[in-house]
C-alpha cells in the first residue's frame, strides 16, 4: 500500500502534488482529487481568517490510518493527504486529497471517504476570526452523518 501524508504550515502546489502521484506509472486510469479552501463566511458570520490547531503525532497517525482503510476497501494505487495548520485567510487552501486508481469509480469513492473520515477522526481544530472576536468552530452533525454512510 502507498500513502503519502503531510501536515504543514506552508501552501502546496496542486499540480505538482497530483503529478507526483502518477509520475512514471502506466497503470493509473483515474486520479480523483479534493481541495478544501477557507471561506470568507460561516454560519452567517464574516470570517477574516482562521487558525488551525492539531495534535502533532496523532494527526499523522490518524491520516495514515484513514488512507490504510481506503486502501483496504478499494483497489487503489496511491493516496495523498496534505493538511495545513497555523494561520490561514479566506481563499487559502487548507487540504488536498488525491487518489490514484485504475478506474475512476474507485478513485472518486475513496476520495470522498478519506475526506469524510478526516473531518470526523483527524485531530484538527479550527478557530475563526469574526467581527465579534475569535471563536472555535463547532463540530457539525452533518459531518458525522456523512462519515456514517461508509459503515456496513
Amino acid at each position: 500500500m502507498m500513502a503519502r501524508v503531510r501536515v504543514q504550515t506552508e501552501d502546496f502546489d496542486i499540480g505538482r502534488e497530483l503529478d507526483a502521484l502518477t509520475r512514471g506509472r502506466k497503470d493509473v486510469g483515474g486520479l480523483a482529487s479534493f481541495v478544501g479552501l477557507v471561506r470568507d463566511a460561516n454560519d452567517g458570520h464574516a470570517i477574516g481568517g482562521m487558525t488551525l490547531e492539531h495534535y502533532p503525532g496523532m494527526t499523522e497517525k490518524a491520516l495514515e490510518d484513514i488512507c490504510a482503510q481506503a486502501h483496504a476497501r478499494w483497489d487503489l494505487i496511491d493516496t495523498l493527504v496534505i493538511h495545513r495548520v497555523g494561520t490561514l485567510v479566506p481563499g487559502d487552501r487548507i487540504v488536498l486529497v488525491g487518489v490514484a486508481s485504475a478506474h475512476r469509480g474507485e478513485a472518486f469513492e475513496a476520495c470522498e471517504f478519506i475526506m469524510d473520515y478526516l473531518k470526523t477522526r483527524a485531530p484538527f481544530w479550527k478557530k475563526e476570526d469574526t467581527a465579534s472576536g475569535p471563536r472555535w468552530v463547532e463540530a457539525r452533525a452533518s459531518d458525522d452523518t456523512a462519515a456514517e454512510r461508509w459503515k456496513g
Binding site: E53, Y55, M58, K119, K126, E138, A139
Partner: protein, 84 residues
Amino acid sequence: MVTLLYFASLRENLGCSREQLALPSGNATVSSLIDVLRNREGPWTQAFAPGKTWRVAVNQNMADLATPVKAGDEVAFFPPVTGG
C-alpha cells in the same frame, strides 16, 4: 505518572496544555482520571461535568471512559474535531 494533554477550546478553558499526573490507585482507566480532574476547582469541574462533550485519546489512539491507563501513557482530551 501519566502525561495529560489538552487541545483547542478545552486547553483555553483550562489554561493548561500539558501536565503530569500521578496515576490513581487500582486499575486506572480514563474514567478514574476524569474523576480526579472533575474534583479540581473552577473550570475543571465545568469542563468535565457529566453531559459535557469531549473526546479522549490514549497513546494517540481514540479511546473511551473504559480504556485502561498505565504509567507512562499519554492521555489527550479535546473537543470534537473540525478539520478539513
